[in-house]
Amino acid sequence: MNDKNIDSILKKYPVGKSENLIFILQEVQDLIGYISIESVEKISKYLSLPTVKIYGVATFYDEFRFNTNVKYTVKVCEGTSCHLNKSSELIEEIKYQLSLINGSKEEEQIFCLQIVPCMCACDKGPVFTIENEYYTFASPEIVKPALDKFIEKNGI
């Protein structure tokens, strides 16, 4: 199933043109949620690019994930303004809470944490989002209730 979809992505790009690598990877991740070994092998054949080069490129950027099962994204702002409002404590707490929820398995995670440079809400920091829910002026204490609420709402 996945294989076919990846083929359909590849078809959009010319054979052997490695300059499209990043865009192919982005589409693959959009489609299957992460960068799988199988997809990298396919891309490798299609672009005549060794898998290690693809892996090297993919790991260079923040966007790409290699764990198989990430359902929801938690984003937290690490901008300077948020940092002044103690976002680092918030990030610590989110990391801790997520690790409790996700468990120890690296490959399978319910939430993944994305630390973003700025969310354009410098006066309301620190800010974090769970999918499309925004939390402003967030203190570490509200992380757990927020996650609990989200989990309950989505029946995880």
């Binding site: 990298v40 060794p50 898998t51 290690v52 892996y55 260079f60």
Partner: protein, 574 residues
């Protein structure tokens, strides 16, 4: 165009368009470099080669800037020296302080620059967590905590070998050099050619150490410690003892090995003669039958692994075992028979210029039979270490001959050490097999030299013989494409993974210049010219073997056990 530039207040000559570094080097001004590799484009990553150019705000890297006529350069001003020193100290900050226990102690580039730049104390603490070692590889060990990320291994693997096993992974302080999906080396597409080990400035990449295995079996009761030496070892081992390249030290090597505790020392060249003979038989048969398939050589284990993990049609790979494995089988059968001991009581060591041979020795085809064919493989560097360890003054060793029964060889066998040599020596025997006549001139210059792909067409009576040689694994695709498009037909293709052949193998001395390679090649061809027995089929051993020895030999299974092997597809991430 040549012009004068001013360096350290003196005028030196520089060519238009060359880099500052090349001008400095030619004029005897030494500037330290870590990431720089001759003949490859500069990356400017290490910043060690910075120099001060008058009028430039910042220091410039000598490796990447071209000289300009107006330039006034200071290569060793206080500012430059302090900068270089600090760069080295930055590297040392995350580098383990264990030089004394390191395999590259005294020949490490980082250590050398640390000393040269007078770094005398650790100014920056090491807060980094130690990265995990990877000792899974059969031929190569990897210690990432010692890696300084100069990228030389990555570039060799990509630009010179074209194998692409490793690359930079992640970024910033987390950057690490790893195989695809950070798999271990044993699960990667590494072919163990060992070129990365040769260029590594530190001990991050090293050949797998087999010395302890050997030491365990020195003077062990009921165990015969036996060595076989590849022809590419004798011509380079002396370099590890300070002798200029281009001299054959096989005699001294035999004595030294005996002094180290080996009970018998054999010449792998003897089995090369058998290898030539067996391969030539197949080719001659093929030509006679007008069979237009191509036989690909299989004596380079790195190439064999490369073929097995690609979509290459493995049925085209020669099923004849490599000389190392033929000799090992002979040792554990014929020799065991002669001295009347069980094969498991022989500890068979192969001394080879190659790290992939370590891998070959533990392939299941060669280790999971009744006995291990080869028990340990020592590289040239390891041999030198063993000799030093045993307190032997190598250069004062009296030359001695190899031990019977594996001591008589043709000079053709020694050609296996250089690229094109296998093809040339097989060609000599094939011509004989097809025509039944001996040729007078046995030099085939078209197969010699350092070209990427060499080819030759020879008429032998009514037959046409077409051979090709691939010098360096990167060039294999060029040739395969030509064969695929039916542009050319070859009866036999020799492939050596390392450019230049085994004389440039991953187990050879670390610092091997192009000049050294030329000298090593020269001595091999000179020896061949002098020798009377210069064809495998003329070797007394070979004649004896087929007429007599083979009948006496009690093989466990069959004749195939001695000469034949098999291959299978290996799934790796390419």
């Amino acid at each position: 165009m040549i012009y004068d530039i001013e360096v350290n207040n003196r005028k030196i000559k520089a060519y238009r368009g060359e880099t500052i570094l090349s001008a400095l080097q030619r004029n005897g001004i030494i500037v330290p470099t870590l990431c720089f590799m001759k003949d490859l484009s500069p990356t400017g990553a290490c910043r060690m080669c910075v120099v001060e150019v008058e009028g430039e705000k910042n220091l410039v890297t000598a490796c990447s800037h071209t000289v300009e006529e107006w330039m006034k350069i200071y290569t060793h001003s206080l500012k430059v020296i302090n900068t270089r020193k600090l760069i080295i100290e930055m590297l040392l900050a995350s580098h383990p302080d264990e030089c004394l226990y390191c395999i590259r102690n005294t020949n490490c580039e980082l250590q050398k620059y640390t000393a040269e730049l007078n770094v005398s104390e650790r100014r920056f603490n090491n807060f980094s967590e130690r990265k995990k070692n990877d000792v899974s590889g059969a031929g190569i060990s990897y210690e990432p905590s010692k890696c300084i990320l100069c990228g030389r291994c990555v570039r060799v693997c990509d630009e010179i070998q074209g194998v692409n096993t490793i690359d930079f992974i992640k970024r910033g302080i987390s950057t690490i050099i790893n195989p695809s999906f950070s798999k271990s080396i044993s699960n990667s597409n590494c072919i163990y050619c060992g070129q990365c080990v040769r260029v590594c400035p530190t001990a991050a990449l090293t050949g797998k150490n087999h010395i302890p295995y050997v030491l365990k079996n020195v003077h062990k009761q009921n165990t015969k410690l036996v060595a076989q030496c590849s022809p590419a070892v004798a011509i380079s081992i002396a370099e590890e003892f300070g002798v200029k390249a281009g001299k054959d030290f096989s005699g001294q090597m035999v004595t030294a090995l005996k002094k180290c505790g080996f009970d018998a020392v054999f010449d792998t060249s003897v089995s090369i003669d058998l290898h030539i003979y067996e391969t030539a038989k197949i080719i001659a048969e093929k030509i006679k039958n007008n069979d237009k398939t191509t036989l690909f050589s299989s004596s380079c284990p790195a190439w064999v692994k490369y073929a097995e993990q690609s979509d290459f049609d493995l049925s085209r790979l020669s099923i004849i075992k490599s000389p190392q494995q033929i000799m090992a089988t002979l040792i554990k059968t014929l020799y065991a028979q002669n001295v009347n001991i069980k094969p498991e009581n022989i500890f068979s060591v192969s001394i080879s210029p190659c790290l992939a041979k370590k891998y070959e020795a533990q392939r299941e085809e060669h280790s999971q039979n009744i006995y291990n064919e080869v028990d340990a493989v020592l590289s040239v560097r390891e041999l030198a270490r063993l000799i030093k360890l045993s307190g032997i003054d190598f250069l004062k060793c009296e030359p001695a001959p190899f031990d019977e029964p594996f001591n008589i060889r043709s000079s053709a066998s020694n050609l296996y050490a250089v690229s094109g040599g296998e093809a040339e020596s097989i060609l000599r025997t094939v011509i004989f097999m097809l025509t039944g006549k001996e040729t007078k001139d046995n030099t085939y210059t078209k197969l010699r030299g350092f070209k990427d792909i060499k080819e030759i067409s020879v008429k032998a009576g009514i037959y046409d013989i077409n051979f090709a040689v691939v010098n360096g694994i990167k060039n294999i695709h060029k040739l395969l494409d030509e064969i695929k498009t039916c542009k050319r037909h070859y009866d036999f293709v020799e492939i050596m993974s390392c450019s230049g052949g085994c004389i440039n193998g991953g187990g050879q001395p670390l610092k091997t210049s192009v000049e050294d390679l030329k000298l090593r090649t020269k001595i091999i061809y000179e020896n061949d010219k002098k020798d009377v027995i210069n064809k495998a089929h003329k070797s007394p051993f070979v004649n004896d073997f087929y007429n007599d020895t083979l009948n006496r030999l009690q093989l466990v299974t069959s004749f195939d056990e001695l000469f034949k092997t098999s291959y299978k597809y290996k799934k790796v991430l390419n």
